[in-house]
C-alpha cells in the first residue's frame, strides 16, 4: 500500500507497464508510529479538518479519523510550525517511539505491473459559484457532504443537528460569536436536488449524478431519527430517481412512514429573513404558482463530478472521456478504458452509488486478471506455517492483555488496576497493558510472551471481536497456538463508551468482564477446522449476457465452465433488443460473442437444458441435468445464478385488443427487422411504468425510461416529422443517460407527466387510437391520436423457487434473489460458493448486467484461488450420539440443512452435523431436548463458568 502517493507517468503496454509514482513525505515513520496520539496532544498547529468538510479544526499532526488505515499520523507541511517556520518540534519530543522525521523527502518510485485499474473517485460539486443559493454567504446553507458530517456521531456536533454548523463550537472571532448567538435546533430543513447536476445553464454538468435522490431521502430520514418526529423535512426535486434495488420502497416509506415532504419544483432563490438567519425559499409549485416558505436550514444535494486533476491524468494516459466528463467505456466492456490494459472502477467510470462501485471493483479486478493469468501466483507471497504446539492435557497458562485503546478505554477505565487484578485470577500467568492491543508491535510482543512464558490461552480485553478477533487469532497462530485458544471481551463498546460518567463502576465492570473471559478461556480447547476439497469447475445457470460474461471471465483465467441454458441458443433477453443507449448494435455483438463462447474450449454450453436436482455444498456441488431430453450429471465447485428476468405481460391500455398497442420489446423487434410499417406511421406514444411502481409491483424496473427515450430518438431520427409523446411519472434517465433525455427534448419529443391516480385512458374511437391524459403544466385534459402505442412494461422476476431451493438461496417478496449484502456483497449469496448476476438479482441494463457477471466471476475466482486452504470453521455443532433421541428437531430447525440422520452404522437413525454446512449459530444446540448437541468453542460448561464467574460478586 502506497499512501500520499500519486501516479505521475505510465510507460509500456498491457502485460508490462512501468509506472512512476510520486511519494510525498509523511514526516512520520510508518514502521515506528504506533498511533498513540501523543504528538497531536502537544501540537499547537491548527488546520481545517478535511475529513469533517472543514467544519472543525484539526492539529497539524493528525490522523484523518480513528479507524483510518493505516492508523499512522501524518504532519501537514502547510501548517506545521516546524516545517514552515522552523519553530516548535513538540511532537518530536512527545513521540515515545521516535517516529517523527522532519527530514522526510519526496521520492519517485517505479513499479512494474501487468495491468492498471483507475479508481480515482469523484469530487462533490462546489456550489459556491451559485449566487441564487447563497452557499458562500449564508451560514445555514450547507452541502449534503457537510450535512453528512453533521449527522455523524464522529462529526463536529456528534450527530446533534444545529443551525450555524459552519460556526465553531467555541467561537473566538467576533463575527463567529455573533452568529453563534443564533444557533438553535432546526425545526424545518429543506433539501434542494440537482445542485451541480442536470444543469448546463449555471454549470457544465449535463449528467444526472445518480446518487443524490437517495442520499437526500436518507439524510431526511436520519435527521428525523436524530431530532425527533416533529422535524419538518422537505425535498425539492425535479424527478425522483430511485431506480435501484429496494430504493422505491425506501422512497415510499419516507413519504408514508416518516412524513417527509416531496415538492416537485426547482427552487428559484433563497434569501435570509432580515434580523434572523432563517431562509426564505421562493419556488413555483406544480400549478405554476409562486410559493414562499421559511426554513431553518437548506441542504444542497450536490452532484458528482470528476476533478480536473483526474481529467488531466486521463489526458496524459490517452484515456478517452465521455461527453459527460467521465471515463468512456462501452456497454460490452463496461470496465475497460480506451487504453488496452487500463481498467476503470467507481465514480470515475460513471456517476454511481456504492453497490455499483463495488460491482465495478470486482469486475475491473477480474478484467485486469484476465490479461495476466499466465503469471498468476508468480509474485504473491505464501505465508509460512508455524508448527502447532500441542496443549491438550496441559494446565491452562493464561496471558491477559488489557488494552488502553489510546485514551478510548483508559480515559474511563483504570486499566492498570484491571491488569493487576487480572494477575490474581486463577490460571493467569501473565497480564500486560498495551496502549493499543491491535498495533503491530503489540502483536510481535504477544508472540514473544507466549513463547517466553509458555502461555497456552490468551484473553484480550479491548474492543469488539467482530472486527479484531481475526487479527489476534492470527497472532496466536504465528506463535504456534491453535486460534480457538483465544477469548476476547469488549471493555470499550460495552463499558468505557457507555459508562463515561461512571469511571469507578466502569472499572468494576471491566474486572467482571475480564474474570468471565478468563474463566471461559481456561476451559477452551483447540478446535480442528476440516479441510474442504475443492472442485475447480464452475456451473453458470443462464446463458444471457450476465451469465456469458461470468463464464468468459472464469475461462480466461483457466477454469472450466458449464453454461446451462434452457433455450436453444445463447443470448437471453438481449436477443430481443435493438440498440444500446450508446448506439451499439446488440444483435451484431451478440452473434460474435456467442461464436467466441462456442469456440472456447474451457466453456461447455448446454442448450435446451434444465436442472433436475442439486446436492452438495461449496467446493462440492453435483447437479442432475436434462439436456435435449437426455439426463446426465455435472460436478462442480461453485455456481453462478444468472437466470435473468422477463417482461411483464400487460393487461391494460388496450393491449391485446388493438394491434397498434405494443410493448417495448415489440418495438425493438420492429426496429431490428427495420419494419416498413414504422415508416408509415405519423405518430407514436410511449406510456411508462406499465406494471411498475404500483401496488402489485412496488419497485421501479430501472431500464424502461432510458429504453423509451432512446427508442423515441430512434423514431425521430428515422422520421423527423413524426409526433412522439412519452407519458411518464418520473423520468429516470440516471447517469449520463440524462444526455439522451435532453437530446430527445431537443428533437421535439414531448414529455407529459401523469400520476398513479390519473393514469392515461386509452380507447379506440372511430378506428383511431386515442390516448387521454392531463397536461401537467396547464392542468388541462388532452387527447393524443396515435398510430402506435408503446407500453414500457415492467421487468418481472422468474420467482424460481425450485432453483432457490437447490442452492439454499433466498428470494425477496417480489421474487428477486437476495444477495449477501446490499452494499458490500452484491454479486454473491450468503451461501458459500453460490454467486449472482444479471436481472434475477434486480432489473438492470446490459452494461450493468455484464459488470455484475464479471464481478460474480471475480468473487468466484477468489474462492477458487483458495483451492488448497479452504476450511470449515472450528466453532460448529457436534452431536453426542449416545444421548441423541432421534427426535429430529435439529434437522427441522437448521436454516442451513447441516444436521441429518445417519443412515448406517452403529448410530444409524441418530443425528449428525455436516461441519461444512454448519454456521455455528447454535439454534440446534439450544433446541436439543436430550442435551446431545454441543457447540464447539461455546460448550455448556464454558457458558456456565462465565455465568458463575459473574455471580461471584453478587
Amino acid at each position: 500500500m502506497l499512501t500520499l502517493s500519486e501516479l505521475i507517468d505510465v510507460k509500456g503496454e498491457k502485460g508490462n507497464f512501468e509506472i512512476d509514482i510520486l511519494k510525498k513525505p509523511r514526516y512520520v515513520d510508518l514502521d515506528l508510529c504506533i498511533g498513540c496520539g501523543a504528538c497531536a496532544e502537544k501540537c499547537p498547529g491548527k488546520a481545517d479538518d478535511e475529513y469533517n468538510e472543514d467544519l472543525v479544526k484539526r492539529k497539524s499532526v493528525y490522523v484523518e479519523y480513528a479507524q483510518a488505515v493505516p492508523l499512522k499520523y501524518r504532519i501537514d507541511p502547510e501548517t506545521c510550525l516546524k516545517l514552515t517556520k522552523d519553530k516548535c518540534g513538540n511532537c518530536e519530543e512527545a513521540c515515545p517511539t521516535s517516529a517523527i522525521n522532519f527530514d522526510d523527502k519526496e521520492e519517485t518510485v517505479t513499479i512494474k505491473t501487468g495491468s492498471i485499474i483507475l479508481s480515482p473517485g469523484y469530487k462533490p460539486f462546489d456550489p459556491s459559484q451559485f449566487d441564487n443559493y447563497q452557499y458562500s454567504n449564508y451560514p445555514n446553507v450547507v452541502t449534503a457532504m457537510e450535512f453528512e458530517r453533521i449527522l455523524s456521531a464522529t462529526g463536529p456536533t456528534m450527530g446533534h443537528i444545529t443551525t450555524m454548523p459552519k460556526v465553531p463550537v467555541n467561537p473566538k472571532k467576533k463575527k463567529d460569536k455573533e452568529l453563534a448567538a443564533y444557533r438553535k435546533d432546526p425545526k424545518k430543513i429543506a433539501w434542494f436536488q440537482c445542485v451541480g447536476s442536470r444543469d448546463i445553464n449555471k454549470c457544465d454538468n449535463a449528467h444526472c449524478s445518480s446518487v443524490c435522490c437517495m442520499y437526500a431521502v436518507k439524510e431526511a430520514i436520519i435527521s428525523k431519527e436524530h431530532a425527533g418526529d416533529e422535524l419538518d423535512c422537505s425535498i425539492f426535486f425535479m424527478d425522483m430517481r430511485t431506480p435501484g434495488k429496494d430504493f422505491e420502497k425506501y422512497y415510499n416509506n419516507a413519504q408514508e412512514k416518516h412524513g417527509i415532504n416531496f415538492i416537485r419544483s426547482r427552487v428559484h432563490s433563497v434569501t435570509e429573513v432580515p434580523g434572523t438567519h432563517d431562509l426564505e425559499v421562493v419556488y413555483a409549485d406544480e400549478a405554476g404558482e409562486i410559493q414562499k416558505e421559511i426554513y431553518d436550514m437548506v441542504v444542497l444535494s450536490v452532484g458528482l463530478e470528476i476533478p480536473e486533476e483526474t481529467r488531466n491524468l486521463a489526458e496524459k494516459l490517452n484515456i478517452e472521456m465521455s461527453p459527460g466528463g467521465f471515463c468512456n467505456t462501452s456497454t460490452f466492456d463496461p470496465v475497460s478504458s480506451s487504453v488496452d490494459g487500463i481498467y476503470v472502477a467507481g465514480a470515475f467510470n460513471r456517476p454511481q452509488d456504492i453497490p455499483q462501485s463495488v460491482l465495478d471493483a470486482s469486475a475491473a479486478a477480474s478484467a485486469a486478471g484476465d490479461d495476466l493469468s499466465p503469471a498468476r501466483n508468480t509474485l504473491t507471497k505464501k505465508l509460512e506455517e508455524v508448527p502447532r504446539i500441542n496443549v491438550v492435557g496441559e494446565r491452562p497458562r493464561i496471558g491477559v492483555f488489557i488494552c488502553d485503546c489510546g485514551s478510548n478505554i483508559k480515559g474511563v477505565v483504570d486499566c492498570a488496576h484491571v491488569t493487576e487484578y487480572a494477575k490474581t485470577l486463577p490460571y493467569v500467568e501473565f497480564a500486560d497493558e498495551p496502549m493499543f492491543a491491535c498495533s503491530q508491535d503489540t502483536q510481535d510482543k504477544m508472540v514473544e510472551y507466549i513463547k517466553e512464558k509458555n502461555l497456552n490461552r490468551i484473553v484480550v480485553a479491548a474492543c469488539t471481536p467482530k472486527t479484531h478477533e481475526p487479527l489476534f487469532q492470527e497472532t496466536l497462530e504465528n506463535a504456534g497456538l491453535n486460534k480457538y485458544l483465544f477469548e476476547m471481551t469488549n471493555i470499550r463498546n460495552h463499558d468505557s463508551w457507555v459508562h463515561k460518567n461512571n469511571p469507578d463502576m466502569a472499572t468494576k465492570k471491566a474486572k467482571d468482564l475480564v474474570r468471565m473471559a478468563v474463566s471461559k478461556a481456561a476451559l477452551s480447547e483447540p478446535l480442528k477446522e476440516e479441510k474442504i476439497p475443492m472442485d475447480e469447475r464452475v456451473m453458470v445457470v443462464g446463458g444471457g449476457m450476465a451469465g456469458i460474461s461470468a463464464a468468459r471471465s472464469l475461462s480466461a483465467q483457466g477454469y472450466e465452465v458449464h453454461i446451462i441454458e434452457k433455450q436453444d441458443r445463447l443470448g437471453g433477453e438481449a436477443l430481443k433488443l435493438h440498440k444500446t443507449p450508446k448506439g451499439e448494435d446488440i444483435q451484431k455483438k451478440l452473434k460474435s460473442i456467442a461464436e467466441d463462447v462456442n469456440a472456447n474450449d474451457n466453456i461447455k454450453v448446454h442448450l435446451n437444458t434444465t436442472i433436475e436436482s442439486t446436492d452438495g455444498f461449496v467446493g462440492n456441488f453435483k447437479s442432475r441435468i436434462t439436456e435435449n431430453g437426455d439426463s446426465s450429471e455435472i460436478e462442480y465447485g461453485a455456481a453462478v445464478l444468472a437466470t435473468g428476468a422477463t417482461a411483464h405481460e400487460p393487461d391494460e391500455y388496450g393491449f391485446g385488443m388493438d394491434d397498434r398497442v405494443v410493448t417495448s420489446l415489440d418495438l425493438d423487434r420492429m426496429l431490428i427487422e427495420n419494419s416498413a410499417e414504422l415508416d408509415k406511421m405519423n405518430s407514436a406514444t410511449f406510456i411508462q411504468c406499465v406494471g411498475s411502481r404500483d401496488t402489485n409491483r412496488p419497485y421501479c424496473s430501472k431500464i424502461c425510461c432510458t429504453h423509451s427515450v432512446h427508442n423515441a430518438i430512434e423514431l425521430k431520427t428515422r422520421k423527423p416529422d413524426m409526433d412522439v409523446f412519452i407519458l411518464y411519472r418520473d423520468i429516470r434517465t440516471y447517469g449520463e443517460n440524462e444526455l439522451l433525455y435532453k437530446q430527445a427534448r431537443d428533437l421535439g419529443v414531448i414529455f407529459i407527466r401523469y400520476d398513479l391516480e390519473n393514469k392515461p385512458d386509452v380507447r379506440t374511437e372511430n378506428g383511431s387510437l386515442v390516448i387521454k391524459a392531463r397536461d401537467h403544466v396547464l392542468g388541462q385534459p388532452l387527447e393524443i391520436e396515435s398510430d402506435l402505442l408503446v407500453l414500457a412494461t415492467a421487468i418481472v422476476p422468474r420467482k424460481d423457487e425450485k432453483l432457490a431451493n437447490f442452492f439454499k438461496v433466498p428470494l425477496n417478496e417480489e421474487g428477486f434473489f437476495v444477495e449477501k449484502h446490499a452494499k458490500l456483497g452484491p454479486a454473491e449469496f450468503a451461501t458459500d460458493g453460490v454467486f449472482i448476476c444479471g436481472s434475477g438479482h434486480y432489473p438492470k441494463p446490459l452494461d450493468e448486467a455484464i459488470t455484475q457477471g464479471k464481478a460474480a466471476a471475480s468473487r468466484a475466482l477468489t474462492l477458487l484461488g483458495k483451492k488448497d486452504n479452504l476450511f470449515t470453521s472450528g466453532t460448529v455443532a457436534l452431536v453426542d450420539q449416545e444421548k441423541c433421541s432421534s427426535c429430529g428437531v435439529c434437522v427441522a430447525i437448521c436454516p442451513y440443512s447441516a444436521p441429518s440422520f445417519l443412515e448406517e452404522g452403529r448410530y444409524s437413525g441418530k443425528a449428525e452435523i455436516n461441519p461444512v454446512l454448519c454456521k455455528g449459530c447454535g439454534l440446534c444446540v439450544a433446541s436439543c431436548r436430550s442435551g446431545a448437541l454441543h457447540l464447539k468453542g461455546f460448550n455448556t460448561d464454558q457458558i456456565f463458568s462465565q455465568i458463575f464467574a459473574l455471580d461471584e460478586v453478587v
Binding site: M1, Q67, G121, L372, N377, T378, L379, T862
Partner: protein, 59 residues
Amino acid sequence: MGNNVTGSVAVIGGGISGMLSALDLANSGYYVYLVEKGPAIGGVMAQLDKTFPTNDCAM
C-alpha cells in the same frame, strides 16, 4: 505478449472501488500496489454517516 506478463496490478485510488479491486486481485493470486494520494485509504465512503437502505454505519 504470450506468457511474458507481469503478475501484478496497480490500483490507483484507495476508495471503496479501489480497496475491493485490490482485495479481489490479491485473493485470486496477483500482487497489488494500492496507490492512494491521501494519508489513509477509505475514500468518500469513510466520510458518510450511514448508508441506505439498511442505514448501516458506513465505516
